[in-house]
Amino acid sequence: MLLLLTNGIDGTADILVELCAARGVPVFRFNIDLWAQYRFAWTADGFVFRDPTGRSVDSGAIDAVLWRRPSLHETPEWEGGSPEDRAATEAELQTIVREIADWARGRGRLRLIDPAGSRRVGRLAQMRVARDFFRVPDWAVGWGVRWPAGRRMVKRLTAEPVGADHDRYIYVQSVESDRLAPEWPWLLQEIAEGDRDATVLYVHGRCFGFEMAHTRTELGVEDWRIRNVAHDDPWRPWMLPEGVADRIDAYMRRLGLRFGRLDFIAGGPELVFLEVNPNGQFGWLDDPEGWPLHTAVLDALLDPSSTIDGRAVTLEEG
C-alpha cells in the first residue's frame, strides 16, 4: 500500500491515485485539511486511518509513503472550534503527519521526497554547492550594509507570508539595491545572463526539461518568477544541452535529494543555475496525454531505491 500525505486540493495527488488505480497499485490518501472526516488511531503497535468511505489503511500494510503537500496553510480553513483550539489542533496535526513521515523514514518506507529537504538544503547551501556544477550569479546576504548601486534581484530565504494577516508574499523581484534600507536583512543576487527561463524536473536520476516559450525580453521581465501568473505562460519541452543531465544528477546526489525542480536561465554564454525546490510543483508542465511526469514520479515511488534513507550527507568539505 502506498500512503500519500497531502491535502484535498492537490491535483498531482489526484493524478497519482488515478495512475495507481490503472496499475492496480493500492493507495490510501490522507488529506490533512479534511482530517476531521477521517478517523485515526496510533498506539505502540502501529496506526490506522479510516476515511469516510470506509476504506482504511494499517501501518503494517504500508510499503511506501510520499510526502506531498500535507499543509494546512495552503488549503481552505476547516470548520469548528475556537480560534485557540484550532491553532492548537493544527500544530498537533502537522506534528502527527511529520511523525508519520519519521516513522516511515525509520523503516525505509519514505520515498522520493524528503520532508526536511527545504530546511536541510536551503537557498544558500544550494547556491554554494551549485558552483561546483553550474554558473551561479553572485549573491550576498546581510544587514547593516548599504548595498552597492545597481539593479539586482531580491530573493527570500523562506516562503513565509508577511503582514499582520499573513496574506502577502515577497516574490523574487528586481530593485535598485542601493535603495534597500540597510538595517534589514536582504538576500541579493546579480541578474543572470541569458534570455530564456528553463526548469528541470528531477525524479530519481531522470531529468525532464522545459523552457519558457517567450524570452525575458518578450515578457518584459528579468526573471519569470517575477510574474505572479507565470504558470499561465507557455512552457515547452526543452532538450537539455549535452552533459547537463549528468551535472544535475551529480548535483542532486551531492545534496542528497532524489526529487526536485531546478530553475535555470538559458540562452546566455552558459547555463545559469537559480535554485532548486526539493518539493517543487510540476503538474502544470505535464502532458495529460499519458501524464509522463506523474508516471515517472509513481515509477520512482514504487522503486525501493528511491527510499529517503536519512543518512548524513556531506554537502561541502571544510
Binding site: C20, D51, P148, D167, I170, A181, W284
Partner: protein, 84 residues
C-alpha cells in the same frame, strides 16, 4: 558584481533614508484561486477522478489543484502563493 563580505561591511552603513525600501514594501497579495462549490470527491481515494477535472494550470505553486474538489461553506479561497 557584489563585493566580498568583508568589503561590504567596510562600507559606511548610512542610516535609513527617505525612500529606502523596507521588506513590507516589496510584499504583494498573491492571486487567488476561487474554489468550486462541489464537496470533496472521496472517489479520488479510489482512483476514479472525474474526467471533467483537470490539473489547474493557474495553481502551479502551492498546489497543482483540481479546483473543483473542495467546499467549505462555499466561500473559500486558496492563495496562489507564487512559485516555490
Amino acid at each position: 558584481m557584489l563585493l566580498s563580505a568583508s568589503l561590504l561591511l567596510l562600507t559606511a552603513a548610512a542610516p535609513q533614508a527617505a525612500g529606502d525600501i523596507v521588506p513590507s514594501a516589496l510584499a504583494t497579495r498573491p492571486g487567488v484561486v476561487q474554489l468550486g462549490e462541489e464537496p470533496y470527491d472521496w472517489s479520488l481515494q479510489q482512483g476514479r477522478r472525474p474526467s471533467s477535472l483537470r490539473v489547474a494550470d493557474n495553481t502551479a505553486n502551492c498546489s497543482t489543484a483540481t479546483i473543483k474538489t473542495q467546499r467549505n461553506s462555499g466561500s473559500d479561497e486558496v492563495h496562489d502563493c507564487g512559485f516555490d
